[in-house]
């Protein structure tokens, strides 16, 4: 189990999962500031209405919808496969895992089988995506701390190498549109495998470099340790998932829990945090990068030959039988799930995306209350959101 030892909710007093009502100490008025939607550090168009007492945050209300592109309504008007390119644009830093979550949900709905080589390819690309997402996330966090872009430059240097691999395989750097229901779109050649092995062989050096430069940096430690604490029982009750949940000490990684795909063949650990603060979230992402490298090495070694698409998969006239399914994966940001209701037609009746970034933001207010306004940016950066997913 998730042996985190947190107390279950029934022993808690009424209103335990609501943010505390803060009172300003001292005289004077509260200063109400709208941070965003145009802000250098808000990872996109996002607004937080904060009420400040001096520098302390008394109230924080997030405002969403600045990137609401009605993806769910579009999904009802398009065929199942037609929505696949749109899933690329949800969490636009990790298009592969978005595709995978959608393909998994449809495969749950129809019961399609995925051939082994396709599963291995999914794992390889998924872990590469996770690696570059965590690297970018750390880069953005440190940039918001004032490091003027240097860790971000290093992270993007590695990201470019990984994007080269994606481009060689799928034809696009970012919006790959690679997964299909029942497998993957194209097969990877032996030359691509060699290139991937070379890239993966260089990745541990990069993680060591980041670790050496950042983890014991005194500015980083002073600014992030003890900031933005999220208690594990609140995290579970608020639906927080992904590295943020594990940094609060809860052992819940969907790759281990659900064992979707072939993840139970790989040997990897799940790092957990002890102090539940921003530094732990940074450290969890760094350690997960190392675990991803481990999975990649195993997958690249064991990948078998074979088809990459289920031969019985129907591409034209794809009409799943009526019913519904909810499929989820461990995306780099958290639990990304798709809920599909089919009425037997070529378009889904209801196409719902469970966005990890939006639900992780539920506890932003709880973490930021009482902190200084300069730390709100850090706490927000440690949640690691992408607006395309929050607003869909």
């Amino acid at each position: 189990m998730s042996g985190s030892g947190f107390v279950q909710a029934k022993d808690k007093p009424e209103g335990w999962n609501r943010p505390p009502v803060m009172e300003p100490d001292g005289e004077g008025e509260l200063l109400e500031v709208a941070m965003g939607p145009h802000h250098p550090s808000t990872h996109g168009v996002f607004r937080m209405d904060v009420a400040l007492d001096g520098e302390r945050v008394i109230r924080l209300k997030p405002v969403f919808g600045y990137l609401h592109r009605n993806h769910e309504k579009l999904g009802e008007g398009m065929s199942y496969l037609g929505s696949m390119p749109f899933t690329d644009r949800l969490d636009y830093i990790c298009p592969i895992t978005n595709n995978w979550a959608y393909a998994l949900a449809v495969e749950k709905l129809t019961g399609q089988e995925v051939p082994e080589r396709a599963e291995y390819l999914r794992v390889i690309l998924g872990e590469l995506t996770r690696f570059q997402n965590h690297a970018s996330s750390i880069g953005f966090l440190i940039q918001e701390m004032g490091a003027s872009g240097t860790p971000l430059m290093y992270a993007f240097r590695e990201r470019e190498k990984i994007l080269d691999l994606f481009e060689a395989l799928t034809g696009a750097r970012m919006m790959v549109n690679y997964m299909r229901f029942g497998g993957c779109r194209v097969d990877a050649s032996a030359a691509w495998m060699d290139a991937a092995r070379k890239v993966v062989a260089a990745l541990p050096g990069f993680v060591d470099e980041m670790d050496r430069l950042l983890s014991t940096n005194e500015i980083l430690m002073a600014r992030t340790q003890g900031i933005g604490i999220l208690r594990p029982e609140l995290a579970v009750n608020a639906g927080v998932t992904g590295p943020m949940l594990r940094a609060s000490g809860v052992n819940y990684d969907i790759r281990k829990v659900d064992g979707y795909g072939i993840y139970n063949r790989f040997n990897f650990r799940v790092p957990l945090g002890d102090h539940w603060d921003v530094y732990d979230r940074y450290m969890i992402r760094l350690l997960e990068m190392r675990e991803s490298i481990g999975i990649l090495e195993q997958a690249l070694k064991d990948i078998p030959a074979g088809p990459v698409m289920d031969p019985k998969a129907k591409l034209r006239g794809f009409r799943p039988k009526p019913g519904e399914a909810y499929g989820r994966i461990e995306a780099p940001k958290g639990e990304l799930g798709f809920y599909l209701i089919s009425d037997g037609g070529p378009n889904p009746y209801r196409y719902r995306i469970r966005p990890p970034s939006l639900i992780n933001l539920t506890v932003l207010e709880d973490m930021a209350l009482g902190e200084n306004v300069a730390d709100v940016v850090l706490i927000f950066g440690s949640v690691d959101i992408v607006l395309g997913e929050v607003d869909r």
Binding site: F64, L109, V236, A238, G239, Y339, R352
Partner: protein
């Protein structure tokens, strides 16, 4: 994980009077749902969270089931006065009539629950509103699971279900004075001069309407 039948019996034993129905799921996924009556929903949810340890609400969403026009053939028995053998009599006649009626639709809220403590799930629970127009209230499950907070706001915004007991029910994605509920099936998008070089269907009709308007305005302006 227990099956939905077992969970239903456990709920009915613990929360008496809770109207729980099983909604079977015909697809391969086997994720059957439990439909809860709104009156006892909070009690059932608290039982699920505290006793069965479904402590993690993963997904909360809405579904729109619009009104359906149902055509059915009904056998109607009527008393008719008929002349039989020259004598007027009251005779009973059975006729098949085709009747059209509108089956009222509803809005539905669907919740997916998982258990972090016991690694179980998903358990799907649903609640239906009375209809789509005036009986659109459902109890909010935010006091039980905090993760429903933003998701219920989104359901309110896009579908129009009003959650009673929600700490802060405002629109989430659209702006505050937006009037419609866009995810409903009968929502009509505003006509904002969508331009396409190869217009067809709806867009072509609207473009022709715009052109007709512009010509009429031009003629008036020239004539005036």
């Amino acid at each position: 994980m227990k099956t939905v039948e077992e969970i239903k019996s456990a709920i009915e034993a613990a929360v008496p009077g809770a109207g729980v129905e099983i909604v079977p799921n015909p697809s391969v996924s086997g994720q059957h749902s439990l439909r809860l009556a709104p009156s006892h929903a909070i009690a059932v949810a608290t039982y699920l969270r505290d006793e069965l340890l479904f402590d993690y609400l993963s997904n909360a969403t809405g579904v729109d089931w619009p009104d359906k026009e149902v055509t059915e053939k009904v056998k109607v028995t009527r008393t008719v006065t008929k002349t039989v053998d020259g004598v007027e009599k009251a005779v009973e006649e059975t006729v098949e009539e085709t009747r059209r009626r509108v089956q009222p639709g509803c809005l539905e809220a669907v919740y997916h629950l998982y258990s972090v403590a016991k690694n179980e799930g998903p358990l799907v629970i649903r609640m239906r509103t009375g209809n789509r127009t005036d009986q659109v209230e459902l109890p909010s499950l935010t006091p039980v699971w905090r993760s429903a907070e933003f998701q219920e706001r989104e359901i309110f915004d896009l579908f129009g279900i009003v959650f009673t007991g929600h700490p802060d029910l405002r629109r989430l994605l659209m702006w505050n004075n937006f009037k419609d509920h866009p995810m409903r099936r009968d929502y009509v998008e505003p006509d904002d001069f969508e331009y396409e070089p190869t217009a067809h269907d709806e867009v072509l009709k609207r473009a022709q309407a715009h052109r007709a308007e512009a010509e009429a305005a031009g003629r008036e302006g020239a004539g005036a």
